[in-house]
Amino acid sequence: MTETNARKVLDFEKPVDELQRRIERLKRDGTSSAGEIARLKEKLSELENKVYRDLSAWDRVQLARHPMRPTALDYIGCICDEFEELHGDRYFADDPALIGGLAKISGIPFMVIGQEKGRSTKEKIARNFGMVKPDGYRKSLRLMKLAEKFGLPILSLVDTQGAHPGIEAEERGQPRAIADNLKEVFGIATPIIVVVIGEGGSGGALAIAVGDSILMLEHAIYSVITPEGCAAILWKTREKAPDAAAALRLTSGDCLELGVIDGIIEEVHGAAHRDLEGNAARIRDAVLAEHEKLGKVPPDGLLKLREEKFYAMGQFEEG
């Protein structure tokens, strides 16, 4: 995909984009009647429903990775009344791929953490495309423990292709950092709400995706490995990525059916990148509803339920 300032459009989105441009042009010209524009807007809405609902798994992977798809910071900007970012793991570094801070959502204090992919090319590089290093996972654990200490609920926004694969990441204990998060989270006695907003990639995503309410945006994906990685190993060629995407059952609908998430947040106007504010509002409403539900459970009850929730995951036969 070429990186320009113009809006980026996937092939299957073209009809929607063309109609939208036409409406914008007509509005600018001021020659069309209000009725005509209203009619076209209705048509646009129908087209959105059609184009973004009838998608292959591979199309959904493209949507989840859409260059214009909102990132964690986009949503934080919309859903939080205030946000004070907190930095650093207190051991080695501040990982810009993993952000966190004290937020207020509709007046309720939250600790928000998330993977941030970055928006401009420059920012993407600075944020390592949302691929977190051990320092980032240690930062997230520090913030989660801080939240528990002061009784704040946690909102985690998941969006990464996977943990950073690199020499220094391994030297500083990437497996240990992820393993630590996965273990410690079962002792963090405060409500944890997780929203997979884009890519839920592998252990690198899971490290901040264990919680009490686990939601996915409609077009987010969640998988043990990227379709490309899976294709390279099992089909011996990355070109089979679309087949792997279908086989991996990585869409929000699949994940709900397989019992690994609790709910799906439907995306308005077809897809999140077409209406940031509208979609952010949906996330906020879902988070507040979950927060209210979880607020009724005492903290040790939360831990018990969290454990049972994950003990129940998996399918096997017992002869």
């Binding site: 943990a163 694969p165 690199g166 020499i167 990441a169 391994e170 030297e171 500083r172 204990g173 990437q174 497996p175 240990r176 992820i178 393993a179 630590d180 996965l182 273990k183 410690e184 989270v185 079962f186 002792g187 592998s202 252990g203 899971l206 490290a207 264990v210 969640y222 998988s223 043990v224 490995i225 990685g229 899976c230 190993i233 099992l234 089909w235 011996k236 087949d243 792997a244 086989a247 991996l248 059952r249 990585l250 699949d254 994940c255 397989l258 690994v260 969290r306 454990e307 994950f310 003990y311 995951m313 998996g314 399918q315 096997f316 036969e317 017992e318 002869g319």
Partner: protein, 301 residues
């Protein structure tokens, strides 16, 4: 140049037909030709260069557990095929083939055992079963093992050997990382030791969950241990990998594991650690809970 010299220089001209099948084994590290029976006596460790050959779960059981003390649990658990996954082969057929090849139903054995007379809950992964990959069955067996360990106040010992998550179970296999982590957390809360023994290889989802959650982490020499595979790291970063990267000794140098122990020393090391940690635990429990727990301890430990 004789073939032996060529082998020493790492030139692969050696062919299997040069040597009678099964009687002899060539060390992939130093090229030494080893007599199979002697190699077995050496626990499949090369006498010349200390290379640790890969061995399966029953072989580790022989090495670690006291004779006839192992009582295996949950042997009937087998993989379902929740995703009806098919690549070049059906997942169902891959599992069937692995069961046929290994004579076991899954990539892990779990059960109660004694090690040097000390009761433990022992779990051993098996690389020969689909690369030791972790799917729903491995996850469930670890949870059940942890529950039994807590119930009977036994320390938990897990021998890991795994390339990571089982792709054919996709998201469900990913969730086994958190499921097993919950189980390890419960053992931790019960104040029981969990010793992880990392063998070649321990990577991906197993490394990033229970393998690195041990109170004590022991690794066999030169085992490949890490999260991302070296090829992926090279492709993604374009960096040259340093010598010995992601090997046990490298992890020891970087403070990631406690001990590198050769296979011959695994059992004695384990017994010493169990003794040390359990003496601490018993003192603490006796102080806290008097009669009941004291009885449990004198009964079991």
């Amino acid at each position: 140049m004789s073939w032996l010299n060529r082998a020493k220089r790492g030139i692969k001209t050696w062919r299997k037909k040069d040597i009678p099948d099964g009687l002899w084994e060539k060390c992939p590290s130093c090229g030494e030709i080893l007599y199979r029976k002697e190699l077995d006596r050496q626990l499949s460790v090369c006498k010349k260069c200390d290379f640790h050959f890969r061995i399966n779960a029953p072989a580790y059981l022989d090495i670690l557990a006291d004779a006839s003390t192992f009582s295996e649990m949950d042997t009937a658990l087998v993989s379902g095929d929740p995703l009806e996954f098919k690549d070049s082969k059906k997942y169902k057929d891959r599992v069937k083939a692995a069961i046929k090849k290994t004579g076991r139903n899954s990539a892990i054995m779990t059960g109660t055992a004694e090690i040097g007379g000390r009761p433990v809950l022992l779990a051993i992964m098996d690389f020969s079963f689909m690369g030791g990959s972790m799917g729903s069955v491995v996850g469930e067996k670890i949870v059940r093992a942890a529950k039994k360990a807590v119930e009977e106040r036994r320390p938990l010992v897990i021998v890991t050997a795994s390339g990571g998550a089982r792709m054919q179970e996709s998201i469900l296999s990913l969730m086994q990382m958190s499921k097993t982590s919950a189980a390890i957390a419960s053992v931790s809360r019960a104040g029981l030791p969990y010793i992880a023994i990392l063998t070649n290889p321990t990577t991906g989802g197993v490394a990033a969950s229970f393998a690195f959650q041990g109170d004590i982490i022991i690794a066999e020499p030169k085992a490949m241990i890490g999260f991302a595979g070296p090829r992926v790291i090279k492709e993604t970063t374009g960096e040259e990998l340093p010598d010995g990267f992601q090997r046990s000794e490298f992890l020891l140098d970087h403070g990631m594991i406690d001990i590198v122990a050769s296979r011959q020393k695994l059992k004695t090391t384990l017994v010493y650690i169990l003794d040390s940690l359990m003496s601490g635990a018993s003192v603490r429990v006796e102080e806290d809970n008097q009669e009941n727990d004291r009885k449990t301890i004198s009964l079991i430990w």
